[in-house]
Amino acid sequence: MTFDEIESTWALQHRAQAGAADLPALRRALKSQLNRRRRLLVLGACSLVFSLLAMQVLFFLNLRVTRVEDQWLSFARLMLHQGLNLVIVLELVRIYLRHRRLARGRAESVRDVVSLSLAGVEAEMSDYRLGRWVTLVLVAHSLLSVYLNQPVAQVGWDAFGLRAGLIIAVYALIGLLVWRQYRRKLRPERDRLKATLEQLENIQA
């Protein structure tokens, strides 16, 4: 097949009228889909805000109930908790800004959009890597809370060990799922976008 034949095969498509579809129905479908995605995003954001607030409330209730003799330990625990919350809030703001940049850049040239997407994926990957350390701090924080709430002197090492084991198992499971997402989704996505961007580089004569 010659290239002229390829072109004439391609031209066969122009005979049909693409605009024959029911336009109002299409518009309704697109609008409802966009609204649904918007609702999902709002719901997700509300759940996160609610979780953060609930964590604060629970933490302060817990702090009031627990009798800790060493006030400095209590203060350190409070600071650790607030530090973690701050990291989570900052991360949420970064995710929001990334999404906004991508949404705004939707109509740039193909190369600009691909580099924007690649930057987004790479930032997400670096967040995941940071998340590993945050998870370790979370584990330490939870173990400290368990240790303070139910002192070993009262409940014994067996009960403490069981609780600590459960905490570590839960975080290990979360960590595995997150690492799987990193390895199976983000890394191939980054490689794919990188390869596409390389194809979009101008070759110097």
Partner: protein
């Protein structure tokens, strides 16, 4: 009073639906993916229209959004697509007879063997987009586009060897 974005979208669909359909067909390998990508491109175009200020031609703008969307598109998981994020929108057929459909499908299968960016370039070329607009859409220089297209055309012809249809 009608929403100006709605009006603009209707204009896009009336005049340029073909390019959205062709882009979806060139980048997706099966019917479900094709419908999925078609939906994604239409949604991207809708969302990008408020930013259209008329500096470029509307068709160039739509090409830019459609190809950016196609190059960034990830296949949805089947479960996600069918249960959560899918509405009944199928890619309209641009051919009139089964013979034409078969020939065009065969050509798309060859185009899909090209790397993604080459697919974009050949689609623009086959749609008779001029080099200046191609450069604006892709972000590549006109010289680069010319050189690449020469190679892509040869590659596509090689891929099409052995295909003998009466045109």
């Amino acid at each position: 009073m009608p929403d100006p974005i709605d009006q603009l979208f209707l204009e896009v669909y009336r005049e340029h639906a073909g390019l959205v359909i062709k882009t979806a067909q060139a980048f997706a390998t099966n019917a479900a993916d094709r419908d999925d990508l078609y939906q994604e491109i239409l949604l991207s175009v809708w969302q990008a229209l408020p930013q259209f200020k008329g500096q470029a031609k509307l068709s160039t703008y739509v090409y830019r959004v459609a190809h950016s969307c196609a190059l960034n598109w990830k296949r949805s998981r089947q479960r996600y697509r069918t249960k959560v994020d899918r509405f009944a929108l199928e890619v309209p057929d641009l051919t009139s007879t089964p013979e034409e459909r078969e020939r065009v499908a065969w050509l798309y299968a060859r185009i899909q063997q090209l790397p993604p960016v080459d697919r974009t370039l050949i689609l623009l070329y086959l749609d008779k987009i001029n080099y200046t607009d191609m450069a604006e859409i892709t972000g590549l220089s006109e010289t680069n586009i010319r050189v690449r297209l020469h190679r892509i055309k040869q590659q596509l012809t090689t891929l099409s060897e052995g295909m003998t249809h009466d045109v």
